[in-house]
């Protein structure tokens, strides 16, 4: 082989050795990749920080410390008339039961032989919910008055927070709600096996509780309220949205009017959600006379808010069905409506569902419009089954988070984070369903 001399002398335009220009271009590409990676890293680390802080604060909300006590159901207190008539027993209100709980704690101290110097107000370790718990049980079992009954009560939030590491002996010394001796009592009861920490289903299923009983507060009413609203949004926004987009996409003539409608739909999708709340207050409550704080009004307001999202995604799904399908259907003699409902709509289905689920997820996390229609409220009674329940007062998950962050007791901060976790789980389930549906049924041409 003979070396062929390079006709351009010492030029570096070989594809093996990069010239200056190529180096520059390669460096630019490398830099861009780095910027991209950095952008992703910043986004990810923000997400990780957010999730970590919520999980760190919120996971303890799913467990709760409980104490088991024998409560003497003394007849003098509960049934002063002595006739065991449930109506007379019901006259003793919740606060009247506090003495029994005190007695129960003192009995336990005696029974387990606990001796703590300077112990003041030992019943302060038991939640105020205990009185309500005993009263409900007694009203159901009036014949048990006079005997004793074993109950499992929540401890107060301060004792519970001590086991979660948020209250320490040092902070308890300064705290007016708990004393070191009371914590020592809780520890002694734990050693005796009467106090333990376990998973707390009530956090998910129980209704909200007042500011004095953070340990008893749960998400039950909020979850039902959110579910009712989602049901209403689904039942109203899906048919209306799909009908509107089919008409606009397949039947409507292209003229100035449809152009205006199209622009307005896109505009509506960008309107701040609080505006829909104001609209809801004016139309549904003040004009139509629907009740305040009810899921029906919340559902209607969120329907208005979700409609543009559903219309836009449905139109995109319909557009992505190739015209050849319509032409083929029309070619074999199908009517316009048959071609849409037999061929186009089924093919666009997965896209429509994905858009709907994403719209619903958006509605699930919405707080601002609910603020104005009275759903940011303290509600402790479950709404009835639908359809009547649509008109009963309820709250919603994001609203419950908002409510709890405003309360004075620090234990509510933990529960707010717990509620965020529940909300995130629901959102994740909805979004994963949307992705799975798309993967499973989507067709590409």
């Amino acid at each position: 082989m003979v070396d062929i001399p390079d006709s351009r002398g010492t030029s570096t335009s070989s594809i093996l050795t990069a010239d200056k220009r190529t180096k520059k271009r390669n460096a630019a590409e490398k830099r861009f990749r780095f910027y991209g990676l950095a952008a992703i890293c910043i986004g990810l680390s923000a997400l990780v920080m957010l999730l970590a802080s919520i999980l760190y604060q919120g996971i303890p909300a799913f467990t709760q410390t409980k104490v088991t006590l024998e409560v003497p159901l003394s007849a003098d207190v509960l049934d002063p008339e002595g006739n065991r008539d449930p109506e007379d027993i019901a006259k003793v209100i919740t606060f009247g039961y506090a003495g029994l709980i005190e007695e129960a704690v003192e009995n336990a101290i005696e029974e387990y032989g606990i001796e703590i110097e300077g112990l003041d107000d030992p019943a302060a370790i038991v939640s105020k919910q205990a009185s309500a718990q005993v009263r409900n049980w007694v009203l159901k079992n009036p014949e048990a008055v006079g005997g004793t009954q074993q109950f499992s009560f929540y401890t107060t939030s301060r004792i519970d927070q001590y086991y979660k590491g948020k209250v320490t002996m040092a902070s308890a010394e300064l705290d007016s709600q708990i004393s070191i001796e009371q914590i020592q009592l809780a520890e002694a009861l734990e050693e005796a096996g009467a106090l333990e920490r376990g998973f707390n289903w009530d956090f998910i299923f129980a209704p909200d509780a007042s500011d004095q009983r953070p340990e008893a507060a749960g998400l039950g009413v909020a979850i039902i309220g959110s579910a009712y609203m989602m049901l209403i949004v689904l039942c109203l926004a899906l048919p209306i949205g799909v009908a509107a987009s089919i008409y606009l996409e397949e039947f409507a003539p292209t003229n100035r009017l449809t152009d205006i409608i199209e622009v307005n739909i896109s505009n509506l999708a960008a309107v701040p959600s609080i505006v829909f709340g104001i609209l809801g207050l004016a139309i549904f409550i003040n004009f139509a006379g629907l009740p305040q704080s009810a899921p029906i009004v919340g559902g209607l307001v969120l329907t208005l808010m979700t409609l543009p999202t559903i219309i836009i995604s449905t139109r995109a799904a319909l557009k992505s069905v190739p015209p050849s399908i319509r032409d083929a259907a029309l070619g074999v003699g199908a009517s316009k409506m048959q071609s849409v409902f037999h061929h186009v709509l089924p093919l666009a289905g997965p896209g429509i569902l994905t858009g709907t689920i994403i719209g619903l997820a958006q509605a699930l996390g919405e707080t601002a419009p609910l603020l104005l229609i009275g759903m940011v409220a303290f509600v402790t009674e479950y709404p009835d089954a639908p359809p009547d329940g649509f008109f009963d007062p309820a709250t919603a998950l994001p609203v419950q988070v908002f409510n709890w962050t405003q309360r004075a007791d620090p234990a509510f901060a933990e529960r707010a984070s717990g509620a965020i976790i529940v909300l995130l789980v629901f959102l994740a389930i909805m979004n994963i369903t949307a992705i799975l549906l798309r993967r499973r049924f989507e067709r590409r041409w």
């Binding site: 209100i93 007042s210 004095q212 039942c235 006379g289 009740p291 940011v376 009674e381």
Partner: protein, 348 residues
Amino acid sequence: MSFVKTTASVAILAAAATAASAQGREQVQVAGSSTVLPYANIVAEAFGESYDFPTPVIQSGGSSAGLKQFCEGVGENTIDIANASRPIRDTEIEACAANGVNDIIEVRIGYDGIVFASQQGGPEFTAFEPAQWYQAMAAELPQDGEMVANPNTNWTDVDSSLPDVEILAFIPGTKHGTREVFEEKVILQGCEDSGAMQSMMDMGMDEDATEEACMAVRNDGAAVDIDGDYTETLARIESNPNGVGVFGLSFYENNTDVLNVATMGGVEPSTETISSGEYPVSRPLYFYVKKAHIGVIPGLKEFAAFFVNDQVAGQGGPLADYGLVPDPELAQTQQKIENETTMSQEAS
């Protein structure tokens, strides 16, 4: 997607709408002050547990917003009770009357203290005087016969007995009822105590102008308005160790492990000192009942009566436990609810 299904679901919703609008509202609806909210929550919960009536629904949103909702009219889709951390204003009574809400029963549930607290372990703010707050917070101070921009930047500039840290106070924003009390009972009082009021008068200002000048709060960053709740004030204190915050007594009592309270005028805030009137910064809390709804909304009168029951709002009751200062004239309030005495009847 079948049209039958969608039309059916719409039909069900429509049917449900007509069915429910026929039946009346069963539970009491309350809205208003976020200061009264925790007390209302506690009472509503106990009321629902102890009586056959459904638990009332309590919304927050502030005294003014609550009273506005209250005055929207009479009827089942309007609220029955408005909570307020200040007495109802004449303009609000007029607005009510314009919408047909003529008979209002005013119920005073007790008193609330306003306390001044800093971070536990921070600088030692142990004692304040209204005059010190005035000199630290005023926008302009009188000096040698004219008003000059507040020159104090450090608490020691105000009084050498105070800690040597920069002035940074978190005070309630203007939308809160608490701000009014803070201005009247602390700033205005301090203006008078410090002699600034006299010097302003001497400068030839009339009474209104003096009062206005006294209550003008500086906006150079030393006084920070908090429009959110006390939880926000607490968060700001926690991130600014040298800051001082204004809180409600009940909020402080729930957070004594992180907050250090200072005395005002030499008196430590507590339910006892407030009910005896020794502690200067306190205000009454109210709720207002729409008389036209009594007998229409089940349990409304019973709820109002239960709220001011001795077992609930009295000494040693759950509300006092939470930080409410019991009203010594509770018996009269109970009588008022029993007789359904409206504000116009009281006036005449």
